[in-house]
Amino acid sequence: MNDVKVMRSLKPVYNKALILSRLGYDKYRTTLPDKTMREIESLIKDTENTLNITAAYRIIGIKHINSPQIILEDGTTLSGKRLSKLLENSRQALIMGATGGAKIMELIAGLQEEGKMSEAVVIDAAASEITDSALDFVMAMVEQYLRPKGKFLTKMRFSPGYGDFDILQQKEFYRLLKAQDLGIILNEACLLIPEKSVFAIAGIC
């Protein structure tokens, strides 16, 4: 039951407003000419076409929670007060990850080298948001499998690096998801490469 499930070539549904919001768009104050909006939409489309999203997840039992420590059934220890609170009603956890692949980072770097920084910044934001949406996809899919069993997921998910959930814990996610098989590298500073990669955890209630 603990196998990692991998999904490839995903095209998750994403929220364009969240991409604009990452770029500082304020719907009450920012004035965006139609032409600029069309150009941005076209760049978002390019992002979609260039991203090659792979996602993976596994469900793992929670053995014990003694805030801030969470001990999973395989002995993995995670630490975070807010995470402990999130998982307080959960007997299992959903460990998940997604990566947008190397090609998108090449595109962003190439645009920067050509001096097309405004294009690079839009694609960078779109790639982050769409990759993150792959985790929404994973959660919705897993929830669908859980529903007939009367189970559901916590509304929130946490990623290492937020609050007191230390980024160094990316190492545990990397191991649990066998992320090397997804084409992700973890560097010495616990950064994920390609940069558009993300891990997260949610609780199963």
Binding site: K5, Q112, D124, P148
Partner: protein, 809 residues
């Protein structure tokens, strides 16, 4: 039960299905972590009791408890070998519970893994798995089948094909939608069109949210539905209450949506997660006096992918079918297909859809190629790249079946002619997979010259198609375009066929357009004129090159003229798109000096780099001094961009575009500085900038470097993942005023105080400013650095630091 009996069941009657089972079994003490189906076989009395309660509450059809009893799902528990026995036993339990009081539907759901290309389960593996389940359910005595809670239309197809290839029993299929799409992106109409044409006897939705959101799904399906529609919602959303899962809606509020669902066009109702026999009893009370509504079905021809439906009719916008995915005469495509390079296929597919194609013709006809495998790969690639439905362009039955089998929508077969061998080979395959087809009026005697002869063939092929259950809406008649260079009246004969199809036979039409002009000069003129004439005669679609602007203009204009584009809205929209394309507005050379300078200012404000570059050149030509241009126009312009950004009237891309426009104009002006007598630009200061060691995120740092240059700083950009030593050395050599550092992660931000400490050790007198996602003011101040929270405020901060320095602060 036969399909006919099933259909009759719904005449003037609302059918009630059952409610939740898994959630009830949990309450009844089913242990967590067990295989529910296996556990159920050991608790047959409990299962039977719940199923009896549903029948007593009013269910006409109960489901077997075999939701997850397929071998792929069962393999998670290591009991895939028990697939047949589990299904048979659970079907017998339901059969026993139902007696003669209700029908038993053999329940099939997802295998729990995504199908290829998204997951590792191959389509045929899924079909074979479902067949094992079907066999057990059949031997257990089910009356019909239900495929439910599918989030992937393709997986629902696999299960439906498995049942259709195993028996003739009726099949109901319900998908689960998150809002108005399944998780894999299918909308209600595409799901309906795909499933009803593939032979589902009832279609609908189950699980997901509560009944309210299903009203819209049923409304969207109803005008196109040939089969009864089903709604089987959850009792709202689940939540934990004192450690127990409870649902939002009680039976009364759940049943209160029944009227809305019936008004939307539902024919069968039930409940899913969180519902109980009490919920069904409530619905029965409400529906006792209700009858299903009848809504007139739209007469359109419907082809779809898993994400989009193309509606074809002579009252709707003309359907453009992209012709470019055909290797005939395209060496680059031929070579790509021979090499198995499918990137070219996705590029061509995207180009055509962006240019306005509603459907795409896909042809793998390359001599010496494995047509079956290539066609399959092309169809897969197109599906994953664009939502447009496809025409599968082949007369090879084996290749056709392979492509239709894996196509996750309703394709159009291009084409079936009156040639007896083709009819015999292609019609049954087309019917089996529920596809539409293009009827080519050619027979064993060859290509008929006259319209009358073609019409006879059309009638003959249609009569044969009717025997297989095709209707006129399932067919597009090819008007058969002949080249006028060799047959001067050929075009007129085609128009006669099109006109007869519209006025007399009431059937939709298509043509392969470009044939008409073969051998003639300026072929586009002939093609466009013929297309307009054909549309006037009622043509509903054409296979053409959507990248050809003349052709697309003709399509849009013809639609407006034929009143198929009401009020010409689409035409106007199309024309404004074209004019925007053509609207490249660099400043005109004859502009007066002041206008040029004002335009340069505006170009920077508007982030129009090309115009800024051109206007900077014009300003020089007109005799303006470069330093004056920069000081009087460009710096105020970029400052204005910054102000707009600070007021949030601009967002980041606009700020950067302003900076890019400034850079382009500066590239023109800077080489000219110092050539006159106005002196050169004075640097505001020198800044060494880097992303710290271990950190690879550099886009924020790059934005800042550009903005700093814009504002007159000398910037030494050391890149990302930079050692402290390099930063210190560069600052020393360049006599930097400021070191600017960026870090995005908590693991790398500690490099910043390290650089500060090295800086002090080396007695560098410069300042340090820091920024990045995880850095904040208190962290920066803890080691004596300045902090800014975004690139623009960093520019202001740098300006302030330099100013203070100069004033001895």
């Amino acid at each position: 039960m036969t399909k006919k009996e099933f259909k009759k069941l719904f005449q003037n009657r609302l059918i009630l299905l059952d409610g939740g089972m898994g959630t009830l079994l949990q309450k009844a003490g089913m242990p967590s972590g067990v295989c529910p189906e296996k556990w159920a076989t050991l608790e047959s009395d409990l299962i039977k009791e719940i199923q009896r309660k549903y029948i007593e509450a009013g269910s006409d059809i109960i489901y077997t408890f075999t939701f997850g009893a397929n071998p792929i799902k069962l393999s998670e528990y290591g009991i895939e070998d028990e697939t047949y026995n589990l299904n048979k036993t659970l079907a017998e339990i339901a059969r026993d519970a139902a007696g003669n009081d209700a029908l038993v539907a053999g329940d099939i759901s997802s295998c729990g893994s995504l199908l290829y290309p998204f997951g590792s389960v191959m389509f045929e593996e899924a079909v074979e798995g479902f067949k094992k389940q079907v066999k057990g359910l059949l031997d257990g005595g089910v009356d019909l089948f239900v495929i439910e809670t599918m989030m992937d239309l393709q997986e629902a197809r696999a299960a439906l094909i498995a049942i259709n290839e195993s028996c003739d029993l009726p099949v109901m299929v319900t998908l689960t939608f998150e809002g108005q799409r399944t998780l894999m992106g299918s909308d209600p109409l595409s799901a309906l069109v795909t499933l009803q044409s593939l032979g589902a006897d009832a279609v609908g939705c189950n699980c997901s949210g509560g009944p309210a959101e299903m009203v819209d799904i049923i409304k969207k399906m109803k005008p196109y539905a040939k089969v009864p529609l089903i709604a089987k919602p959850n009792a709202g959303k689940p939540r934990l209450e004192n450690g127990v899962t409870v649902y939002d809606m009680d039976s009364e509020s759940f049943a209160s949506y029944t009227e809305d669902l019936v008004a939307a066009g539902v024919n069968a109702l039930g409940g899913c997660c969180g519902t109980t026999p009490e919920y069904i009893r409530r619905i029965r009370e409400v529906t006792n006096t209700m009858k299903p509504v009848k809504i007139k079905r739209k007469p359109y021809s419907l082809a779809c992918s898993n994400r989009k439906t193309a509606e074809i009719h002579d009252t709707l916008s003309f359907a453009v079918i992209g012709e470019r995915l055909n290797p005939t005469g395209k060496k680059f495509l031929k070579d790509a297909l021979l090499r198995g390079n499918m990137d070219v296929v996705s590029d061509i597919a995207r180009e055509q859809v962006e240019a306005g194609a509603m459907l795409l013709d896909v042809n793998a006809g390359v001599p010496g190629i494995d047509e079956k495998e290539t066609l399959k790969a092309m169809v897969n690639e197109v599906c994953n790249s664009v939502p447009a439905p496809v025409l599968i362009d082949t007369s090879n039955p084996e290749a056709l079946e392979a492509a239709l089998r894996i196509y996750p929508g309703r394709a159009i077969v291009n084409s079936i002619s009156g040639e007896s061998k083709k009819i015999e080979a292609l019609l049954p395959i087309t019917k089996k997979y529920g596809a539409m087809f293009v009827l080519l009026p050619v027979d064993d005697n060859g290509v008929p010259e006259t319209a009358e002869e073609r019409i006879e063939i059309i009638k003959r092929v249609y009569a044969k198609a009717r025997e297989f259950g095709f209707g006129k809406e399932d067919i597009l008649v090819d008007g058969l375009v002949m080249t006028i260079a060799s047959n001067p009246s050929g075009a007129l004969e085609t128009l006669k066929v099109i006109s007869w199809c519209k006025k007399i036979y009431r059937i939709n039409t298509t043509i392969g357009l470009s044939n008409v002009s073969f051998g003639l000069p300026s072929r586009e003129n002939i093609n466009a004129a013929f297309l307009a004439m054909a549309v006037a005669n009622g043509l509903t679609s054409a296979i053409l090159n959507p990248n050809n602007q003349q052709m697309m203009q003709c399509v849009k204009a013809s639609d407006a003229l034929a009143a198929r584009d009401k009020s010409g809205i689409l035409y106007i929209e199309y024309c404004s798109d074209i004019s925007r394309e053509l609207d490249k507005t660099p400043g005109k050379p004859e502009k007066q000096q002041e206008t040029v300078l004002k335009s340069l200012y505006d170009a920077i404000i508007n982030g129009d780099g090309d115009a800024a570059e051109e206007l900077a050149k014009q300003a020089l030509i007109s005799g303006k001094m470069p330093k004056k241009i920069i000081d009087k126009e460009m710096i105020p312009a970029i400052q204005k961009v910054g102000d707009l950004y600070e007021q949030k009237q601009y967002f980041l891309p606009q700020l950067i575009r302003g900076a890019e426009a400034m850079e382009k104009a500066m590239a023109v002006l800077v080489p000219e500085l110092g050539k006159g007598n106005e002196g050169s630009m004075e640097s505001k200061g020198t800044i060494v900038i880097a992303t710290v060691k271990g950190d690879v995120h550099d886009i924020g740092k790059n934005i800042l470097a550009m903005l700093l240059r814009n504002h007159g700083f000398d910037v030494i950009d050391l890149g990302k993942d930079v050692e402290s030593r390099r930063i210190i050395d560069a600052a020393k050599v360049k006599n930097a005023d400021i070191i600017a550092l960026s870090a995005l992660m908590t693991t790398t931000m500690n490099q910043m105080p390290q650089v500060m400490s090295d800086m002090k050790r080396e007695n560098l007198s410069c300042h340090m400013m820091v920024g990045g996602a995880v850095v904040d003011r208190s962290f920066a101040e803890s080691f004596g650095a300045y902090y800014s929270n975004d690139a623009y405020s960093a520019v202001k901060l740098a300006t302030e630091i330099i100013k203070r320095n100069k004033n001895g602060g």
